[in-house]
Amino acid sequence: MKAIDERPVGIADNPRPGRFKKHHMEDFAGRSYTTICAILLIVIILSIVYFVASKGLATFFKDGVSFSEFLFGSKWDPDGNHGEPQFGVMPFIFGSFATSILAAVIASPLSICASLFMTEIVPGWGKKLLQPVIELLAGIPSVVYGFVGLTVIVPALRDMFPGQGIGIAAGSIVLSVMILPTITSIGTDALSSLPRGLKESSYALGATRWQTIYRVILPTVLPSILTGVVLGMARAFGEALAVQMVIGNAPHIPRSLFESASTLTSVITLDMGNTVMGTAHSNALWSMALALMFMTFIFVVIVRLLERRNRI
């Protein structure tokens, strides 16, 4: 105590001369670390993009498959077991979109209601109860979802509907549970960051809680919730294992929701190990990976656009 009081304070006679130099050093070190991390991330991402693109584009340039034949062809026979090899991935693209859109359609209302429940209806115990449940859902590995789907959902659908239970319906139900946490947590964040004044002024005008939620809160947070839905769809689009287990993997556009179908990811995981690098079949799988990546970019762009709208 005494020692500090007696010491004159000022920059001119700094008691510890090395101190400022040390701060500069720290500053420099921190800056370098973060820069290195950032550069590393960028390099990793760029090299992955480059690698997938170089493998994926070989289908078109080396193996001479035309772009439209690849995207819109509906016949998949890459080894040419029945005449000419054919590389139509339309059934897989269809399967991917069908499952992820259907999953979003099933999951969105549930998630939005759950986040409304947590923030508006019962903010107290509702949040305490639901939050851990949702986090738990997010932490369950996809194999478990797939296995539960195969053991519970597929037999249930088989009993209720014509068909084998396997198919797009089973896939989207499994996926909808998987994307619930994504949409719910983003929805909850958006709802709880809403300015209090908005809600209060609505109440002050005599609106009921339902009117407030329906007319004021939901329209305001709609872009954020849509962001969550798009992110959820992106996750559903990229999910492989769980879907592969319940969808059946027939390379055809199914005639019903309960008939065996394929997604881009399920075909890649199914065939990758059995093909030899550099063959046309392997290259076609890389092209599908490229298409998947391209779709993810589009999802990111959509999220960006939604965020921009959200800022107003």
Partner: protein, 313 residues
Amino acid sequence: MKFKKPLLMFCTLVLVLMLAACGSKNASDSGSTTGSGTATEDKPAAEETLSGSVLAVGSTALQPLVEQVAQKFMGESQYSKIQVQVQGGGSGTGLTQVSGGQANIGNSDVFAEEKLDADKAKELVDHQVAVVAMAAVTNPDAGVDSLTKQQLVDIFTGKVTNWKDVGGKDEKIVIVNRPASSGTRATFEKYALGTKTEDLQGSIQEDSSGTVKKIISETPGAIGYLALSYLDDKVKTLKYDGVEATEENVASGKYPVWAYEHMYTKGEPAPEVKAFLDYMTSDAVQNGDVVELGYIPASKMEVKRDKDGNITK
């Protein structure tokens, strides 16, 4: 508080380096020619104490056997300095990696000539360590006990879609297949059907035997095929042209739906790789682990088959 800062920095640095390592590993693993798994060039001086590492990659059908034998092999005192690593990934991966030099042994369900180009396949040396036989299986309530080759072909090509047409119940047939690129499917098509089949609309494809069995046992009217080691009373095992799928019938050549499990090396194997392959084909392993895991020892086979499917006694 103060001493924690450098620690934090250090941790960050370590993490960054770890991530960096991961990143570059992924890149070089998938880049086909950067040889990163061949640490076996250094020759051991004495015969007695072989050392080095052996990497066996490929077929998931063969993987359980190789893994179990590798554990035993490393437990033997004279081989304790050899590290054997076993990885799955599929027959295609195994053949690619052994041909590219990333792995010492490539495990495969099919002959290398069926997957690789002829000049690449020529460099590989085949070691046939076991035989795996397959049987057509159905859901128990299909009501069929035996199918002829022609009936199987009709079912798998979609000509017959109801069990009553082949002597069973009035039930729709659901095909549970393997992916078109799978070695198991190639074997079944080649030796049971004699023809390549298309993936039919509505057919199911799964790549793991466990899932295939689960789906067949639960789906009414399902038909598929499994290795003998997976068979039990949850699924109905069909006779093929009246011949039962038993080990004796396979060994004597009466039952044709079987294939060799291959372990390929590039050129003649290095001493420690050879030691492992010799151990694999030793009587103790062939009559012990191979039988125990449901494969048939290659030595028991009374008939031999070459890559074109010609059978010799």
